[in-house]
Symmetry: C2
Subunit: 408 residues, 2 copies
């Protein structure tokens, strides 16, 4: 019933080597790596040199290769590889969230057109089987929200800064050494990486394809000493939270740092661990926790996809059939805490509804309701840090009053 599959692997870095190791330690998966494409011919490798190539056609044009596993750190080259692999009749497994998020709708169509599968469990929260569960297990639940800690390096940094009082720079360096950080750390700390994963998760939670550029992301790079002090004084922690939820026929989504109460399920998620909270009408609240990055945890997610291909698995994007007319929107109000030092940076008038504030020793804090657009705009001002309030509520900005009502 199961077929022995031949793999052409692109990339032999943190995840590529992780896959190689987990595949060779397990006996259940009928799959074998025939060739590995890398970038730099001169690097010494832990495997025989003849396995490696810098010529991608040696994999893409090899008819004996059934699966292309794409694990490189270049999203543009990755896009070309994935597309060509599918067009040449190969299945693809990839962990490249940026490339996926930017091209998901096209990849959905390519899969239909060529009858080949693109699997990407490793791209969202590393070892946590969230895509598979959304697709298969919650296939008929009416899901209302998904949220969580989707980026391992920022969570690692926040943990070190909070618990060990490490400096931000030291913590980032350590995350890079340990292999969780993206090659370009700005992708992690500015919230892009979490956003890419969120965009992928949205397709499998709500059946909607959203462009990453349409989703607001605010990172942890501007978190201030005032924020840390406020957190400590109120027994809060700070987490970078990615969330998407449905209200009426709209899907709202964004990534932003948030103050988190001590008993909240995300409060206890430390270091490179990720957590995903899913809420549905039937299964109610579900939490998944696991390592979000790292060689073996991500390699094991990739291995699971390879294993699934041995029995012909493909995502059906089941939620697309379920929801008819959901559309993405940013018309939302959020409750935010804004901190800054220069008193001219922010004023009460920047808020839709101002709630409270204080100033001490030149440090200022204002709290109130902002539209998502105002929230984003404030985050871009120099010397200003914005976070969602603890237990922030979110309310859609009501549709404008219908014309005929105004006329009467």
């Amino acid at each position: 019933m199961k077929k022995k599959l031949t793999i052409g692997l692109f990339g032999f870095g943190v995840v590529g080597q992780g896959l190689y190791n987990v595949l060779s330690q397990t006996h259940g998966v009928k799959a074998e790596i025939k060739r590995i494409a890398i970038k730099d011919k001169s690097k010494t490798r832990t495997l025989p040199q003849e396995l490696f190539t810098t010529d991608k056609t040696e994999i893409l044009n090899d008819p004996s290769i059934d699966i292309v596993v794409e694990l490189i750190n270049d999203h543009e080259a990755a896009y070309a590889i994935v597309k060509e692999a599918i067009e040449k009749g190969k299945h693809v497994v990839t962990a490249n969230k940026r490339m996926l998020a930017e091209n998901l709708e096209e990849f959905y169509e390519l899969q239909q057109r060529y009858g080949k599968s693109i699997l990407y469990e490793g791209s969202v929260c590393g070892s946590i089987p969230i895509i598979r569960n959304l697709e298969e297990y919650y296939d008929n639940d009416l899901l209302t929200s998904i949220e969580g800690i989707f980026n391992g390096s920022t969570n690692y940094i926040l943990t070190k800064v909070f618990e060990e009082k490490k400096s931000y720079a030291d913590a980032l360096l350590k995350a890079q050494e340990l292999g969780f950080a993206e090659t370009d750390p700005a992708l992690d700390v500015e919230g892009y990486d979490a956003k890419f994963k969120l965009v992928i998760a949205i397709a499998h939670t709500f059946g909607v394809f959203v462009k990453p550029a349409d989703v607001i992301n605010i990172g942890i790079d501007k978190i201030s000493a005032t924020d840390l002090k406020y957190a400590k004084e109120n027994n809060l922690s700070i987490k970078l939270v990615a969330r998407a939820f449905k209200q009426g026929d709209k899907v709202f989504a964004f990534v932003a740092p948030q103050f988190i109460e001590a008993h909240h399920p995300l409060a206890s998620i430390r270091n490179e661990y990720n957590a995903v909270l899913v809420e549905g009408a039937f299964a109610e609240k579900q939490t998944f926790v696991g390592k979000g990055a790292g060689s073996y945890p991500t390699g094991s997610a990739v291995l699971s996809d390879v294993s699934a291909l041995t029995y012909g698995y493909a995502y059906e994007y089941k939620k697309r059939a379920q929801h008819e007319a959901l559309s993405f929107s940013n018309d939302l109000r959020v409750e935010a805490v804004v901190t800054f030092e220069d008193q001219h940076s922010v004023s009460i008038k920047d808020f839709e509804t101002f709630k409270s504030g204080y100033a001490a020793n030149g440090k200022q804090l204002l709290q109130g309701i902002l539209t998502l657009a105002q929230f984003k705009a404030l985050s871009e001002r120099d010397g200003v840090s914005v976070l969602l309030a603890a237990n922030a509520t979110f309310s859609p900005i009501a549709e404008s009053v219908p014309e005929d009502l105004l006329a009467s």
Copy 2:
């Protein structure tokens, strides 16, 4: 590709009605309930009377019925129904953990023989998709342990007793009113229900069929005021923990109450929530949290199984192929806390290694290392409460020294 399936349902209690409701609120599942068998003809029902029958042959002998969903509260009758359904060429979905645990090996063989599927996600930790993930997602990981809170009513009771200082009896009554408790509450509070689930999980984690009678279960029914006091003084909580782990070629498993430190992932699992911690060589530590009982959460797990049958899903018991010679064993040492009032109940000599103890106001507490057999024996003495110590370690009792070494 997907086939419309016709369901014959047995039982229309908490879970049966939950399934009916979730099925009618979702549109993705191509399945319809044709007939419902119940026990008591005279009860008024929320659905038209002609849907119901007390004659099981009206379902089992109906060739138009593809799936029998078995949700009754009588494990012996359930066994006969499941067996006959399979023999008559129907797939089965059931949530009856006791019946499954007691007959799992036979059901495994029946599935092979008749080429029909028995699915039972709802039987283990309600809404948490643990069986499906063990089978599919961790199919090739080398799992080393599974543990967690597997019983919703005892966790509800412990939460109420600890947080709201409710009496044990009041808390139990409330759990029954809310529909989480088994019809016979002894199954919950004495740890049998958690054990049945553990036995099922072991088959999918390690590929080993274990008889429930061989697995030691100690419940929460003898927890003493001294235990509660000790917990409070040491900032601990008490949870009923089911666990199984592999060491060498042995699988160890048991259910027992345990003191839990405040930062432990199980400490924050409250009320009827369950949690499952899985540890493997590749994915490392994974946690799943969700409602372990209740009408919709359990109904949604049953719905997921029905949905899986629409695309021909069957468990492959993949771990049976992976591990060759694992066998179950109780030859283990554990660290325990033993409390009692009558000083003649327990002595230091009952321990393999005594560690510490105290007596005050007629309340006594002894802590030390016991074999699992001693632990179980102490738990059966009148007026004696036994719990695993916080962060208890477990060490296999070494094999006896080989004969030839003794001879030399």
